[in-house]
Symmetry: C2
Subunit: 377 residues, 2 copies
């Protein structure tokens, strides 16, 4: 039986393992936290730091193929493993580009992929000397995740508290809509593209509020977005799954915001909404199986369940039963032992034929369900 | 976090655990085989014999609720646990009736549920003295499963090799169609009924060949079948999931063949074909959540993948990739370490809007995929 390893044991790995139940495969997971969401769902759990070169090499040598659920892994270890013939998804060339926001932006520029204007900064003094026109967005080259490592600079005095590390300084786009498109590429170069999703963000946590699939946008805009997303994924020259986040600006132009070389929050709806989910698609690629059918079964909305403000400790899923009683809703709880404000604790997908119902249901779900905790702050 | 226990670690438990990933629940499994399909997917795996009274009592005391994936468990142990306040699905009254084919048939008779004419036999001499009109079907009172414990008596000389144990002797029904209907009942008495499925059997192994949902039968027949199935489940007076297998005879009459008080092969299509699968539905009941929506998303066919004749040892899934490349097919491999002729090794569901396509695809899948093994006999 083939062995695949996942670096990281969070909800993305968990949902990949849930799908892997369908295939003849031995699953290995590496993660520092023995109580992580994936620990009880794999054949072998290895406790270890996925950023530790030696630990990742030792782990990777025991499997046939490796994938990641977070970019923050030891790239050097993966390069060693790749040179030894272990298949790595995405490959280290693509991961190296995407892992570093400077290289990622330069990659877009070099490949004529539309993205916001930017410059590269070495440290805070470079930021202060930049004479940038505000507002602007500063993104750390490495280490950002879920809104961390991103700062919006609005006033001149904000520059003094900007990141003091290598970063990208981007012109602020006047965003009309945010989209995400997942592109899957197999080892033979075959390609499957998931229909776009439209995202609404919660400004407080910079976390996805809910998303809709398909988006309500002109066909021409969606075609443009799909072409851009395919160009991002194809030019990386790597098999794997690529989630491309896009802005549509006020003039209808499509710009790439950023890319994740892995399964992604923007694809969760595909578990129920599409014939082949993003998790199934990546597994098929890693296992060398044919690509699946990314078509929509029914339009969907997906609502993230994040830890409510003011609570920590063991999660309490208030309203869970009310949501489960709603029509055509699908609850996914990630099994995290502790909640924190803004932490992704689960998600709910709802299916319906029309957009109006989807929005109504998404709002109801968001109002009905709260992830509180046993410790009130 | 609530703890639920599953007695038995086969594919039914495996698919229940796959669904349980979505809910805040700690899963426990008891099974003698440490390499069973469920072992790597639960929080706690307990090696033990589910027919062993003491072992099951010790296991059950550690969880809040118990369910089964096979009837052949220690009923006495469950009675003790139930008396101690552990919730058992189905309850032991219902399980006691169904576990014994004599009591099951008598239950149908006592509740005016249509079923084939029968008599109860104590042993082989009673069979030989019965003066039964042939053909007839003899079923062992206990221990039958997947076609074992069932014998078709065609000629007078067959009586001499009939079962020499307590059994039911049934009049052979002239079967026009075979249906199955799953009825779910929660602890508050709420009820959800899955749309009927129509089954085609492989006479060689007495295993399901493929099934179609919904069946192509007159509405009136389906209503009758649903009414009968609901009557079977309701009169048992137990929460749980009940798979009622039915015959439609040449005159259009509906007769109950037998009932399983658990998730069942006839409900596998519901994973992709229905908004709420049978596994999700049972979990909702066991966890005290609202019942789900059993409605069909799209019509489906489900094909069992059984071990091919002449092969044993480690399974080899011939044609797997060809089937995965077919449109709208969903492969489920059960992760069994060894194949045997006729052993259930997986299943494939295919979705399509029209029956013609479903049948065509089911035939293609059946022809394309074979579960062979590393040992050729």
């Amino acid at each position: 039986m083939r062995k695949i390893g996942i670096l990281g044991g969070g909800q993305l790995g968990r949902m990949m393992l849930q799908q892997a139940v369908n295939y003849p495969v031995e699953t290995w997971v590496m993660e520092n936290d023995e109580q992580c969401p994936s620990a009880s769902l794999c054949h072998r759990f290895v406790k270890g730091d996925i950023r530790d070169r030696e630990a990742v090499i030792a782990f990777g040598r025991q499997v046939d193929a490796l994938t990641i659920e977070i970019e923050n892994v030891s790239l050097e270890a993966l390069q060693v493993l790749e040179s030894e013939g272990i298949r790595v998804f995405p490959n280290t060339k693509a991961l190296g580009i995407i892992k570093n926001k400077i290289l990622q932006k330069e990659y877009y520029r070099a490949n004529n992929i539309p993205t916001s204007a930017f410059r590269v900064l070495s440290d805070r003094s470079a930021l202060q000397a930049s004479g940038v026109s505000l507002p602007a967005v500063q993104k750390l080259a490495t280490g950002g995740y879920d809104g961390r490592g991103v700062m919006i600079l609005r006033r001149p005095e904000d520059l003094a508290s900007g990141f003091d590390a290598p970063s990208v300084l981007e012109e602020m786009v006047e965003i009309e809509r945010e989209l995400a498109i997942i592109v899957a590429i197999d080892e033979r170069g075959g390609q499957a593209v998931f229909p776009p999703v439209e995202m609404a963000f919660n400004p407080e946590f910079n976390l996805l509020d809910y998303q809709l699939c398909p988006p309500d946008l002109p066909r021409a805009t969606l075609w443009k977005a799909e072409a851009v997303a395919q160009s991002v994924a194809r030019n990386l020259g790597s098999p794997g799954l690529f989630a491309v986040e896009l802005f549509v600006d006020r003039s209808g132009e499509v710009l790439v915001n950023e890319t994740a070389p892995r399964v992604h929050n923007s694809g969760h709806h595909s578990i129920e909404g599409n014939f082949c989910s993003q998790f199934d698609m990546l597994l098929r690629i890693v296992l060398g199986y044919p690509l699946g059918d990314a078509d929509i079964i029914l339009p969907s909305a997906m609502i993230n369940l994040v830890g409510a403000d003011g609570y920590e400790g063991e999660p309490v899923y208030e309203g869970l039963e009310d949501v489960m009683a709603m029509e055509r809703t699908f609850v996914h709880i990630y099994g995290k032992r502790e909640t924190r404000p803004g932490r992704k604790m689960g998600h709910v997908t709802v299916l319906a034929n029309d957009r109006h119902t989807l929005i109504h249901q998404a709002e109801r779900i968001r109002e009905t369900m709260k992830v509180k905790g046993t410790i009130k702050k």
